[in-house]
């Protein structure tokens, strides 16, 4: 593909899945030959260089609170595809293969197709953003993500006027994701945003954390981060991004509609039916640390409250 400088990758340029597998076979044969002669790096095709993740911090959109440690961020996860306990994702995702990775972009947009992750990333400038993360279970962390604004990807695919929402889908592969062998949720996991939410500068597609590629348990290789919403909106291991006309049927709001809404904005005034959302426990504090007050829109009200003007947030929770 000679269009490295072109900003848009046309569907016709995208390697078909059959060809893709083929090229791996070709590569393997090449490597077998190469082993006899000059050594070739094995991961050449699907690798993203480590330096790409060492991105400069966007200070304007970062919080100044102390970030959680890498151990906390990668050892305490809700990622039901790998099990429902907080320690399951780290334990059960060791054999997960985040690369090579393809993402299908389709629906109400002009530039559709199946894109290799490295091609999607090629035109993007990665940046570090330190965001608060508030889980719907009333705990929170501060995480230095590495990623790029979703709006930058959105632009390149030219959604049409019919696109009212963006739907995201996680990989569905019970072989690699043992949690999917149990029907705890209706797999695959689906999340969604309204177009204006998706285009908000805070909405991030993350590929790394702490200057390194995302660990598998954090949603490698590509995940969504929407810091003013509860953590479950941040869909992980994304394989599909669809521009759609109707509000997508998102996983948690479908599983328990009285407990989890489509919007899921962090809101201390609207309790979960079974627990208060007024306060949160910051992970990493001492055993005797007090809970802290939860902020409307998780402290991002200045940037996002306008999106919901005139809406009853008690009903649209």
């Amino acid at each position: 593909m000679a269009h490295k400088s072109a900003s848009i990758i046309l569907p016709s340029e995208i390697t078909s899945e059959a060809l893709f597998h083929d090229r791996r076979a070709v590569l393997a044969m090449g490597l077998a030959g190469a082993a006899l002669g000059a050594a070739t790096p094995l991961t050449a095709l699907a690798d993203i260089p480590a330096e790409r993740y060492k991105a400069a911090r966007n200070a304007r959109l970062s919080v100044t609170e102390t970030a959680n440690t890498f151990e906390e961020i990668s050892g305490y996860n809700n990622f039901y595809e790998f099990g429902t306990d907080k320690s399951d994702p780290a334990a059960n995702s060791r054999n997960f293969k985040p690369l090579p990775w393809n993402v299908t972009v389709d629906g109400e947009c002009e530039v559709k197709g199946k894109f290799a992750l490295e091609d999607l990333l090629a035109p993007q400038t990665l940046e570090e953003r330190v965001y608060r993360m508030r889980c719907v279970e009333a705990w929170s962390m501060v995480i230095p993500w590495v990623g790029f604004p979703f709006a930058e990807l959105l632009k390149r695919h030219k959604p049409t006027s019919k696109a009212k929402y963006v739907a995201f889908t996680t990989l569905n592969d019970p072989k690699q994701m043992p949690g999917q062998r149990e029907r705890v949720l209706d797999w695959p996991y689906v999340e969604g945003l309204r177009m204006d939410e998706a285009m908000n500068p805070l909405t991030l597609l993350a590929v790394g954390v702490y200057g390194k590629a995302l660990p598998n348990q954090c949603g490698a290789p590509l995940r969504l981060v929407v810091p003013w919403k509860y953590g479950f909106k941040g869909i992980k291991s994304i394989v599909r991004i669809s521009f759609v006309e109707q509000q997508p049927r998102t996983s948690w709001s479908h599983a328990a509609p009285n407990e989890y809404g489509f919007y899921a904005n962090v809101n201390p005034a609207v309790d979960h039916p079974r627990w208060s959302q007024a306060t949160e426990r910051r992970i990493g504090g001492s055993l005797l640390a007090r809970r802290q007050a939860t902020l409307p829109f998780n402290g991002y009200a200045d940037q996002v409250a306008d999106l919901y003007k005139g809406m009853d947030l008690r009903r649209n929770f």
Partner: protein, 196 residues
């Protein structure tokens, strides 16, 4: 043997002996103690069927200790929630208990355990006689409340609470199934044994 988990949790809370309670120690303390309380309750309920099946009446001596351990872990469960999770904010605790039925269910279970713990001595047993047996049947109610409390606070994955519910149902069902025979036996002259 039954005290080991409590010692382990205490070591983790104090950060001694290299024991760690993981990324979220508050959650670990509350959950582990709650799980232990439930396990001890189930073990307590298992004694009578086991005795009837095996004929080992010395198992009864174990029952008091198991019951008291259930109470011990239930108290640790409740107090770690009050102290570490809620930061002893009484106003918040009260409003939470009133608003969240699952908390009320759990709290009722602990409160119902109190009279049982207080009357667990042999002296109380002699003093209350038949009433003691009746009083200590509250254990059945407590076990149901405990499973209910567990079930209700789970976000989505119900496999574990279902497992406990099945075990408790079997243990209580055993008693129902055995009951007509006991009643029949009581009408016969020779038997006097009460079971709880």
């Amino acid at each position: 043997m039954f005290i080991t988990p409590a010692l382990w949790l205490a070591a983790g809370a104090l950060g001694v002996a290299g024991v760690s309670l993981g990324v979220d120690p508050v959650r670990s303390l509350v959950h582990e103690n709650g799980t232990m309380a439930l396990r001890m309750l189930v073990a307590t309920l298992a004694i009578t069927p086991l005795r009837q099946l095996t004929g080992h009446s010395d198992l009864l001596r174990l029952r008091r200790m198991l019951g008291l351990f259930a109470f011990f872990y239930a108290l640790l469960h409740l107090s770690s929630w009050v102290v570490f999770d809620q930061g002893m904010d009484l106003q918040m605790i009260l409003s939470e208990v009133v608003k969240r039925p699952y908390l009320l269910v759990g709290l009722s279970a602990v409160l119902l355990m109190l009279p049982l713990a207080l009357t667990s001595t042999t002296a109380a047993q002699r003093w209350l006689k038949r009433r003691w047996t009746q009083l200590h049947r509250l254990t059945y109610v407590i076990a149901v409340l405990a499973v209910w409390h567990f079930w209700w606070q789970v976000k989505k994955d119900l496999r574990e609470p279902i497992a406990y519910a099945v075990i408790v149902a079997v243990l209580l069902g055993w008693r129902v199934w055995k009951r007509p025979r006991a009643a029949k036996a009581r009408s016969a002259p020779a038997t006097t044994q009460g079971t709880a």
